[in-house]
């Protein structure tokens, strides 16, 4: 039931956003499954560029699709980013699922969104986009809780061969994530020297 509700919420907001000009990508726990790290999550998080129409127009589209804002005013300014929190009750569910939109309005978020990759669940005939593994690792290193660092280390270990380390290291340096990077590298590859971070 829980999985069905979360996927139903994801499918619904994706179908609602598709006709708009907004670029968007799945982030958070659900997207980790695409990158081989399977863990539970109870909500849907998207990174989104509201485009030239702006956030207010986007909220109107969502409202018409039965997706309501959780707070008033709907846009929450957290200084480094702005977010919109939404609630949607899938059919036959007995409660609302939370959907968070992180607005891609900083250099890092815009670049991460531009690097999104196509994903799919063919059993559900559902195509979507997810953030790249590198960008998810960066976000998790920034988040900083033990569980986030463990997620980052697991993503690194499970996807290391296909990661763009140059890109990853660029943001490690820019965001001063050196100690977090060192920690997750040593966790995932304890016998190998730490790449990058020179100069």
């Amino acid at each position: 039931m829980a999985a069905k509700m979360v996927l139903a919420a994801l499918k619904h907001i994706w179908a609602t956003l598709e006709p708009t000009s907004c670029s968007h990508a799945l982030i958070g726990g659900l997207s980790f499954s695409f990158w081989k790290h399977v863990r539970t999550t109870q909500d849907v998080d998207l990174l989104i560029d509201s485009g030239s129409a702006g956030v207010e127009a986007l909220l109107e589209v969502l409202k018409k699709a039965g997706i309501r804002t959780k707070r008033q005013p709907p846009i929450i300014d957290l200084k480094s980013l702005r977010i919109v929190q939404l609630l949607y009750e899938p059919k036959d569910a007995f409660m609302e699922i939370q959907i968070d939109l992180l607005l891609a309005e900083s250099e890092f978020h815009r670049e991460a969104l531009a690097r999104r990759v196509p994903a799919w669940i063919s059993e559900m005939n559902f195509e979507f986009s997810t953030l790249s593994c590198e960008d998810l690792i960066i976000m998790k290193m920034n988040a900083g809780r033990i569980i986030d660092r463990a997620d980052a280390a697991a993503l690194l270990r499970l996807n290391r061969e296909s990661l763009n380390l140059n890109y990853l290291l660029k943001w490690v340096k820019k965001l001063n994530l050196n100690s977090e990077w060192s920690e997750i590298w040593n966790e995932s590859s304890p016998d190998e020297p730490l790449p990058g971070l020179t100069d």
Binding site: S33, K36, V38, K79, M95, Q98, S106, G144, L175
Partner: protein, 88 residues
């Protein structure tokens, strides 16, 4: 020095390496459903035979959402400390 954020290489839960995205999402759904069953068992024990399980589940989810909200704020504060500003 490894401080065990994740199991040591080779000791992690055995998820086959070559699963397709479909199979990984199916595994996620199984994990979610199994976790939910265990959660419901715990909530049932907590509320007793006369309790309202659906209501208990709803309350649990509200608490989860609050925790999630705190985490987003924490992430935003961390980004701010690292010099990230929206609109830049």
């Amino acid at each position: 020095m490894v401080n065990q954020l994740i199991p040591a290489a080779g000791l992690e839960p055995s998820i086959p390496k070559d699963l397709t995205p479909d199979q990984r999402f199916a595994l996620w759904a199984d994990l979610m459903d199994a976790s939910e069953q265990i959660l419901l068992a715990g909530l049932s024990k907590q509320i007793g035979p006369e309790g309202n399980l659906q209501e208990a589940y709803r309350k649990w989810y509200l608490n989860q959402r609050e925790e999630h909200d705190r985490n987003i704020r924490h992430q935003a504060e961390s980004l701010y400390r690292r010099g990230v500003r929206h609109g830049c």
